[in-house]
């Protein structure tokens, strides 16, 4: 006999003119290894078919089921009910456009983010599709992969005080995206090119270091380290632009420019 869980779930359907934002209470008996994903599906099937929420992979890969769980953004499929109190309060992610109840549209936001960060390899090389791909060092490939693990669930944006206050702030997902292309040797963008994209208060200099992103990321991406690195790198790029003589200094030689995916290495 499991606990009797009490769910307080935000309900609002912007498509329905009669809908009013409110919290609705549901009760459900806890079962072994129950996740919020299982609980929400049971609530929808057994008690309220009108409940709106997103899910797809149920394995922490697609990022669709991100929501605010007892005040913290997280994935419903990764959250076990046994780790939560008997009363579970669920809200949709802030910042993003509400579709209904717990479902938000992260797609439009991330599409805009791709455009802003120009999230693709910039190269003048002509690729011959019949040739083998160019090889890269295994260590570099692993560094790229470490940052590429972002599932774009939007938790870091919802947990960011700056993103909540200022809607032009790019947030950790976008800055991590830039860091990923900085590591990639195939991307021919220079430090100055990257500075144009993130060297403003809407980019890295807007980050206030609240570390909400770092603490909620369901994939445990090293966001704190990346943000710190980008601030130093872009700060030094600005100084180099102001004092061209400093341009000869190689950041990596100063031991302050090394990427530290996953922590100190």
């Amino acid at each position: 006999m499991g606990r009797k869980l009490q769910f307080e779930i935000f309900r609002f359907n912007p498509q329905d003119p009669l809908s009013v934002p409110r919290m609705q209470t549901y009760f459900l008996e806890e079962t072994d290894k129950m996740t919020l994903y299982i609980a929400l599906n049971r609530l929808r099937e057994e008690q309220d078919p009108s409940l709106i929420f997103d899910f797809c992979c149920r394995a922490g890969i697609c990022g669709a089921c991100a929501m605010v769980i007892n005040g913290r953004p997280g994935l419903a499929c990764q959250t076990q009910t046994k780790d939560q109190p008997a009363k579970i309060i669920l809200h949709p992610l802030p910042v993003f456009k509400l579709i209904g109840d717990l479902s938000v549209d992260t797609g439009v936001w991330f599409r805009e983010m791709y455009n802003k960060t120009e999230s693709w390899i910039h190269t003048n090389k002509v690729i011959d599709p019949h040739q083998q791909e160019e090889r890269m060092e295994n260590e570099v490939a692993e560094q790229i992969y470490e940052l590429e693990r972002c599932i774009e669930c939007g938790c870091c944006i919802a947990a960011c005080g700056t993103a909540r206050m200022r809607d032009d702030f790019m947030g950790a997902a976008a800055l991590n995206r830039i860091a990923r292309f900085m590591v990639d040797p195939r991307d021919e963008r220079s430090e100055d090119d990257f500075f144009e994209v993130i060297g403003t208060d809407a980019g890295i200099f807007g980050c206030m270091g609240l570390l909400g992103c770092e603490d909620v990321c369901p994939k445990q991406l090293p966001l704190q380290n990346q943000l710190g690195y980008l601030r130093r790198k872009m700060g030094i790029t600005a100084v180099k632009q102001l004092v061209p003589a400093l341009g000869k200094i190689k950041l990596d030689k100063l031991k302050i420019g090394k990427f530290i995916p996953g922590g100190d290495k």
Partner: protein, 217 residues
């Protein structure tokens, strides 16, 4: 991040980078100053003569007459720079307050504390500097006489924790923002920050008690 159509393309520039550097450098120099300031005033715990000797040194080298106003300017300059990030509109204030309550996240709350203490330190610190710099030279007796008036006692009992909170959180956040503290060293740095705060609060309150119990002649 806004998802509206771009109405105009922002001209790339170094303005925000420079302002961020200056915010960090002015903040770091004020943190350093506050630690030196603590050495000066807490020397009264050892003896009023030691404090007078240190104050005389600052006076004789013109560091008080020139350094004081310079610190005042850096203080205001730092406020103007940091104000770029402080929520002033009621919308922003409501948003960050709701956010902090929702998240129950220590670093988010620390930032809220830093923003609130900033406003208090701006006003009370300004008053303190004006009063002290208009009554040079600094001596232990003059400080004690001021602090033994009830109004000023309350004033300093409020100002001390506000300054120490702002300084220690600010110092920690500079190191986080510029990547000196990594995710591996963060728990240690957090403990260091609390230790720093506790140490300076302890010395600070001890100094206030010493001033209050100093016999004025």
């Amino acid at each position: 991040m806004a998802v509206n159509a771009t109405m105009h393309v922002a001209r790339p520039g170094r303005r925000d980078a420079c302002l961020d550097w200056l915010q960090m450098l002015s903040g770091a120099s004020l943190v350093l100053f506050m630690w030196c300031h603590m050495i000066l005033v807490s020397s009264v715990i050892i003896s009023p003569k030691v404090m007078d000797a240190i104050a005389w040194f600052f006076e004789a080298t013109y560091m008080a007459q020139l350094g004081g106003p310079v610190i005042g300017i850096v203080f205001l300059f730092h406020f103007i720079l940091a104000a770029r990030k402080i929520p002033f509109t009621s919308y922003e204030q409501k948003t960050i307050w709701e956010h902090a309550k929702m998240m129950m996240h220590r670093d988010t709350w620390l930032w809220v504390v830093q923003a609130v203490t900033a406003m208090i330190v701006l006003i009370m610190g300004g008053i303190h500097m004006w009063v002290v710099l208009n009554d040079l030279p600094i001596t232990a007796m003059k400080s004690a006489a001021r602090m033994q008036q009830t109004g000023w006692t309350i004033f300093y009992l409020i100002l001390l924790p506000m300054v120490e909170l702002h300084v220690s959180i600010g110092f920690y956040r500079i190191l986080v923002k510029w990547g000196v503290i990594s995710n591996k060293t963060r728990p240690l740095a957090k403990r260091g920050e609390y230790l720093l705060l506790a140490t300076f609060l302890f010395i600070g309150f001890l100094t206030i008690i010493r001033f209050l119990t100093l016999a004025i002649h």
